[in-house]
């Protein structure tokens, strides 16, 4: 366990000043910032909206609709590929694989960094959702802070579902990113599958495509006869297992 912690610390340090790290922060606050600006731009609607009993639910849906269907899957495709490409781009696999740590530790530490970055992203985005309700009122005297208390439990519950739904994308992109030296392959496959999932989201077998699940939260499929969250968890485990086997059985380590 100590070895894993050190390995994680090392991997965490590597992401400093990377595009993936920047993407996590910018991607998480972009939509809330746009919504805050849009709300400030329409002060007459703002006072009424902030007095509504379900203002937070409305803001949550507004934020997550764009995030869940567009920014989250695309951001995950990009960020996961960027993290794994760090070793290829810098020609550092050979150095990493001659350090005294098992390949399993390397595999898990990298995956854990992506997981923690995703949590960081969700945390910032949740704060962003709260800011979309809290900030606009600060600009106008007649606009009060939302009457309804912020529903933390419901928001965390919803975020946890989105988190689970995006895990198969993380796992498959991780597999591709570890496997292919050419950055365009994981990126191309990821974006291709995302486009396919958007086309297939209303198809009855659309749930077979692991990139559809976060969008299903807005098209009502999650509540249908199949439970998409279970499919997401299953795909995530399958892809992670496959990625691990492919990684440790590589003939060339670096």
């Amino acid at each position: 366990m100590t070895g894993f912690i050190h390995s994680f610390g090392s991997e965490w340090l590597k992401k400093k000043r990377t595009a993936a790290s920047l993407l996590t922060v910018i991607g998480s606050i972009l939509i809330p910032v746009i919504i805050i600006i849009a709300r400030i731009d329409d002060p007459s609607a703002l006072a009424v909206a902030n007095g509504q009993p379900r203002i937070w639910e409305s803001l949550y849906n507004r934020n997550w609709q764009l995030m869940g269907t567009l920014f989250l899957p695309m951001g995950v495709v990009l960020a996961t590929s960027l993290i794994t490409q760090l070793e290829f781009r810098n020609n550092t696999w050979k150095q990493l694989c001659t350090t005294p740590q098992s390949l399993t530790t390397i595999f898990l530490a990298k995956l854990a960094v992506i997981g923690v970055m995703l949590l960081e992203f969700f945390l910032l985005f949740t704060v962003g959702i709260w800011l979309t309700g809290a900030v606009p009122g600060l600009f106008f005297r007649n606009v009060a802070y939302p009457a309804e208390a912020f529903p933390w439990k419901a928001v965390l519950d919803g975020s946890a579902r989105f988190f689970l739904d995006i895990l198969p994308v993380v796992a498959l992109q991780y597999l591709l990113g570890l496997r292919f030296k050419n950055f365009l392959i994981p990126l191309g496959v990821g974006l291709g599958l995302y486009v396919a999932s958007m086309i297939a989201v209303h198809w009855r077998y659309g749930y077979w495509i692991p990139y559809t699940y976060s969008a299903y939260n807005f098209v009502g499929r999650a509540a249908e006869k199949f439970h998409t969250h279970y499919w997401a968890a299953g795909y995530a485990l399958l892809f992670t297992g496959l990625a691990y086997i492919l990684y440790i059985t590589r003939k060339e380590k670096g």
């Binding site: 340090l13 781009r89 550092t92 050979k94």
Partner: protein
């Protein structure tokens, strides 16, 4: 009997569908030696070093490091081994200190080793400059600093003076000699024959995956009328061509 830091027995390797790159290589690197590993391009030097470090899956033969089979003792051997294979492995967005910190966390060596190896390799004043903006020579120095970070007993260096200016080459030669005086065994692969002649105590000359010579520099020179290493090397490799 000479203690060996590194030993390979019958090491053979071929990439799928190609002719063998290595055929029954028996490498003997004595402890506390500076072993020069020489050979023309494509002779199998880098493949040998990659196999020794476990970067390539071993197909045939035995690899023993510090007297122990490498594959079975990888985790015990790697903390005592430093390496620089081909081009230096550095994270371009990080500074020299940060690059070393990435590895210091894994090796769990004292943090003051970072400053020490930076001073040894002449990179102590690089400050906040990112490694991506380093010259090739500076990257090479950082690669050597990384290899030295864990205070290794065996240092495996593939073309360590690549990209260094003449002054840098002399500095590194002095550094390698000093490390050797302190007890470090060095296995150095290089094309710079004149430089190797000034540095090494032992030599292995490889050609088309087979060792043509292995032994001390003195043994190689015996009966060759004072020929320099370059002349002997060309004579040996042409004879087998």
């Amino acid at each position: 009997m000479t203690t060996l830091s590194l030993e390979t027995t019958g090491l053979s390797h071929r990439f799928s569908g190609d002719a063998p790159v290595l055929s029954g290589l028996d490498l003997r690197v004595p402890e506390r030696s500076i072993y020069g590993f020489l050979g023309p391009n494509g002779a199998g030097k880098t493949t040998t070093l990659r196999l020794v470090l476990g970067l390539l899956k071993k197909q045939q033969g035995e690899i023993r490091v510090f007297g122990k089979p490498f594959a079975e003792n990888r985790m015990a051997i790697l903390p005592k081994l430093g390496s620089l294979i081909e081009s230096p492995s550095v994270y371009s967005q990080l500074t020299a200190v940060e690059n070393l910190r990435v590895l210091q966390k894994i090796y769990r060596c004292p943090p003051d080793r970072i400053g020490h190896v930076l001073r040894l390799t002449g990179l102590a004043d690089t400050g906040k400059k990112k490694a991506g903006r380093f010259s090739l020579g500076m990257k090479q120095r950082l690669g050597i600093a990384i290899a030295l970070l864990n205070d290794p007993a065996l240092l495996i260096l593939d073309e360590p003076t690549n990209g260094l200016d003449p002054e840098g080459i002399i500095e590194m030669r002095e550094l390698f000699r000093e490390l050797n005086r302190q007890g470090v065994t060095l296995l150095v692969s290089s094309h710079l024959l004149a430089e190797m002649e000034k540095l090494v105590t032992h030599l292995g000359i490889i050609h088309k995956g087979q060792l043509l010579f292995q032994g001390t520099l003195e043994t190689l020179r015996e009966g060759r009328n004072g020929d320099d290493l370059e002349t002997i090397f060309i004579h040996l490799t042409k004879k087998r061509a």
